[in-house]
Amino acid sequence: MKRRGDLAARWSLAPYSVWALLFILVPLVFVAYYAFTDTDMHFTFDNIRKFFTATSTVTGDNGETLQVRTYMVIFWRSVKLAVISTVVCLLMGYPIAYIIARATPKVQKTVITLIMIPMWMNFLIRTYAWMTILQDTGILNNFLASLHLGRMHIIGTESAVVIGMVYDYLPYMILPIYSIMAKLDLKLLEAAHDLGCNGISTLRRVVFPLSLPGVVSGVTMVLIPSISTFYISQKLGNGKFFLIGDAIEGQYVANNLHFAAAIAFILMVILLIAMALMKRYTDKSVAGGV
């Protein structure tokens, strides 16, 4: 009887296994395969080497020309903007999640729904919406002008790209932190107060360490897509801040499938290493106390 039950259980997982194989594993193998082959499908490291060594000429601020490693510049720019966006998301998302988790159940439900509604819209449309808001003659500037506060030049700057990314990814920071915070035992906060903690030290010594798993998954869910994001920088940065995602897209559109796969592959490996390090560090700090 038992064996038959096991078998049934195993077979009921089969559709998922097939799905995972077809849509997760096979594409990954293809990416790796393309990354290490040339157009004749011969094995090669050229694509990988190209990522690290390709150079291009740029004009510096004072008019002189510089030789730079193209993809290194793009990569570090992506990391920088992604890290800034993640930090901004965390600084905004953490207090928001905390406040929502402390609200009445009805308010919680409403606010969470409101936060999720924009996620149901296509992100191209959301990005275009930000263009109309941030343009020099856009909604924001017209509003500021009507208040006689002068106009701000935002579109085409790194700030505009960060604003776009924060807007897109903030819900991914709020939701995991909120779900941890909502489960937080209020008795623990009372205990901290009872044992001499004021509001700030309760937050520092009890709430924050206990919400760390939420912070880790929030950071992961924002950092990874924002490193590999594309299109936002093209539209909100006026194409001046080419990011790694744009590079992959560009190579793909130009039919350089092998090099596009190589960039994607390298990015994936770097992110995996980063996540492993992060997990190791946070596990240690959670277990060892703060």
Binding site: D185, A191, D194, L195, G196, C197, S201, R205, V206, L210
Partner: protein, 397 residues
């Protein structure tokens, strides 16, 4: 309290509260002065007056919803009274937040910090006060020794048993040497055996540290065995304050008599001093100070009634049920339509007519109260029902 024998019963209700501590030269630590509290228009506490003295083990006892936990939370600073003052060593502390009160709490489900190990949980309040590291080390070690958890320093608190978590919670609450330790049904989650051990141990810890304990429970046995002073509460009001023997022997009203132990509570009439009539017979008793022919509630404990041959009995009744309880039999006897519970080591058979004899000092007279007629009749008595209602009250609150 043994100074006040049964002769002055009923008169010293108010003087009693003052005499309790001051007579013995004890210091008042906490005073609750006319505390009232309501949630959404529903009264939880109704003008509570309570003095808590240095070095005493005081228990707030009552069924769920009687306001005992709210009273405790008010002392801890987690609730503010709508009316009245909370005084700490003569100073009003109504608006003082919990972290500034020299009072610590052992929470019902322990509320240990899951991200910290045993040592760091106990060290938590010391670190907040920036106590030097070697002193923390020494104090935590000392506390863990007191609660018999030496060697558990590095353990993960979530992997400890209920009893061990309980001990960590006690150590953590005591490490700051608060003047008062508040315990909110701390033994509720433990099994019976462990519960008994912890009762004894808590009592020992209280004696060893000399810290005032304010203990909340709905378990009357627990209250009787541990406390110096018991405060019986019901419906947001204090029903009686006294030592365990007072509360048991001299209940103030039908509620207290029923809640503490088993009681037969019958309607009676006080003929004159030391003479009371109930169940159709006039008894000698030891109470006085009532008006002539004043209606009263009469309490007789089941163990204080003797079964005698029919002709020698003051009362006669029909045995309607006999239950063997191990040490004694629990017998329900119908006396003129009112069912009495009697505990005796002598066997009588169901359906037998018996005589009953009651000594004068086994009869306790209470003034009529709002609880008169609500308790003390065993006509619907059933063990299972009793257990069922107990289980319910454990889950509530």
């Amino acid at each position: 309290m043994y100074l006040f024998t049964s002769h002055s019963r009923g008169l010293w209700l108010f003087s009693f509260v003052k005499l309790r501590g001051e007579e013995l030269g004890m210091k008042k630590i906490i005073e609750l002065r006319g505390i009232s509290k309501a949630y959404d228009g529903e009264t939880v506490l109704d003008h509570i007056h309570l003095d808590i003295y240095d070095n005493e083990f005081l228990t707030l006892l009552g069924p769920s919803g009687c306001g005992k936990t709210t009273t405790l939370r008010m002392i801890g600073g987690f609730e503010q009274p709508d009316e009245g003052d909370v005084m700490f060593l003569g100073e009003r502390i109504n608006d003082l937040p919990p972290h500034k009160r020299n009072v610590n709490t052992v929470f019902q489900k322990y509320a240990l910090f899951p991200h910290l190990n045993v040592f760091d949980n106990v060290a938590f309040p010391l670190k907040e006060r920036k106590v030097p590291k070697d002193e923390i080390e020494q104090k935590v070690t000392e506390m863990l020794k007191l609660v018999k958890l030496s060697g558990f320093e590095k353990r993960n608190v979530t992997r400890l048993s209920g009893g061990q978590q309980q001990r960590v919670a006690i150590a953590r609450a005591l490490v700051n040497h608060p003047q008062v330790l508040l315990l909110d049904e701390p033994l509720g989650a433990l099994d019976l055996k462990l519960r008994k051990d912890m009762q004894q141990e808590l009592k020992n810890i209280q004696k060893a540290t000399g810290i005032t304990f304010v203990f909340v429970t709905h378990d009357q046995e627990e209250a009787l065995s541990m406390s110096d002073t018991i405060v019986v509460m019901s419906e947001g009001r204090i029903q009686q304050i006294g030592t365990p023997t007072d509360i048991y022997n001299e209940p103030q009203n039908a509620f207290v008599a029923d809640f503490i132990g088993e009681s037969n509570i019958v309607d009676g009439v006080m003929r004159e001093d030391y003479k009371v009539t109930f169940s159709g017979h006039t008894f000698q008793c030891v109470d006085k100070g009532f008006a002539k022919n004043e209606p009263v509630d009469v309490v007789v404990r089941p163990e204080d009634v003797d079964i005698v041959p029919l002709e020698k009995g003051m009362l006669r009744g029909l045995v309607t049920s006999v239950t063997f309880m191990g040490v004694h039999y629990e017998i329900i006897i119908d006396i003129g339509g009112f069912k009495w519970m009697i505990q005796t080591t002598d066997f009588v058979a169901e359906g037998e007519q018996v005589g009953l004899f009651i000594e004068p000092d086994a009869i306790h007279i209470m003034k009529k109260s709002e609880y008169s007629g609500m308790f003390g009749d065993y006509s619907s008595f059933s063990m299972e029902l009793d257990e069922l209602s107990d289980a319910e009250s454990e889950d509530a609150e």
